[in-house]
Symmetry: C2
Subunit: 209 residues, 2 copies
């Protein structure tokens, strides 16, 4: 019986996500969001509740679309797991679709910008980061099965090691670091994983915290 809504919620959410991605949370004002979504502030608050809640949903949308697509494409969907991992790492700062270029990563940006006491966004953030770590570990395990990596390698720790490099890579890329330097650091790390080390022997098995 009531008046039906005239806009597409998920389309508006996507517009908001792109804006947050490009500008971060703080630098994006409600006026910007009004312009980007085509909605008025009233409608936005009616639909999403608050700027923070909208951001949380935008972050979720980012994880579900952008991150999961990259995981599927470069990791789980990779024919060759080890070069898939390399592609995944490289794709964090190059070879993005043209519209997404120079956008860094919303997850990393959020982790840096986030105020500790915004626990709602914090849990969404951790969910996204864990998604990446797990996918990396899964793919390293697959590489191990194919004897691309030594049997002694701790894949969970190695996945963490790679995951820890991503923020640094993105920040460096944002600050005009030459791409070949980043590329070399990634390739060096991966080639080190291929070589068995004494340290691996001490940390086989368990490790579930």
């Amino acid at each position: 019986m009531p008046r039906p809504k005239t806009f597409d919620t998920s389309l508006a959410l996507n517009k908001a996500m792109m804006l947050f991605w490009r500008q971060g949370y703080t630098r994006t004002s409600m006026r910007h969001l009004e312009n980007a979504t085509g909605l008025s502030a009233g409608s936005i608050y009616h639909e999403f509740g608050s700027k923070q809640a909208l951001f949380d949903r935008a972050l979720h949308a980012y994880i579900d679309h952008v991150i999961k697509a990259r995981i599927t494409r470069h990791l789980d969907g990779a024919e060759d797991p080890l070069s898939g991992v390399e592609q995944f790492m490289l794709s964090s700062f190059i070879a993005l679709p043209s519209t997404y270029q120079q956008l860094s990563c919303l997850l990393v940006n959020t982790a840096a910008e986030l105020d500790q006491n915004e626990s709602r966004v914090g849990t969404t953030l951790k969910y996204g980061l864990k998604l990446i770590d797990d996918a990396l570990a899964r793919t390293l395990e697959r590489a191990k099965d194919r004897s691309q990596l030594p049997k002694t390698l701790n894949t969970a720790d190695s996945a963490k090691q790679l995951g820890l490099m991503l923020p640094g890579i993105l920040l460096a890329a944002k600050n005009d670091a030459p791409h070949d330097v980043l590329e070399r650091a990634i390739k060096q790390t991966l080639s080190q994983l291929k070589t068995p080390t004494a340290a691996d022997q001490h940390t086989i098995g368990e490790r579930h915290d």
Copy 2:
């Protein structure tokens, strides 16, 4: 002839630096800076010109005091260069003096928060990051001289590799990542450097960009 100034500029700068370190640039208002320094807004503007200029000087102070102290203590001043590097990496998220605790790193925070077109702060930032990379490379080279690392190791690339991990480590620590996971990732990376890999052979010598 005139009335001499009654406040200590470098002391006020240090107070401002601590505040920026704890809260970041955007979240620190002029009112906060007035309270922290004990100066009135008028005096601050007379002395430093603008909030941005004050931040730039605070960042310089951070580099010259905090960063250089850590480099001297853990890298250049280390008896054992390799374990010095390990201590340097670990000290980024633990074992800080109690007053500095939970403060992450102003350099990393700035790199993340920075708007690309603030070129003044951008150059200061690069200066600080290069300081770290160079010190790491220097110390790895020293470790190589003592046969702690293989002669084939490219120290510049390895320094970059370690430097790229720092932002990730700090962001992870800020987001409640368990310290032992971070510790293991660091130690694993270092033990990998000790093992010669095929990739090293291709990248010996040159590399000056």
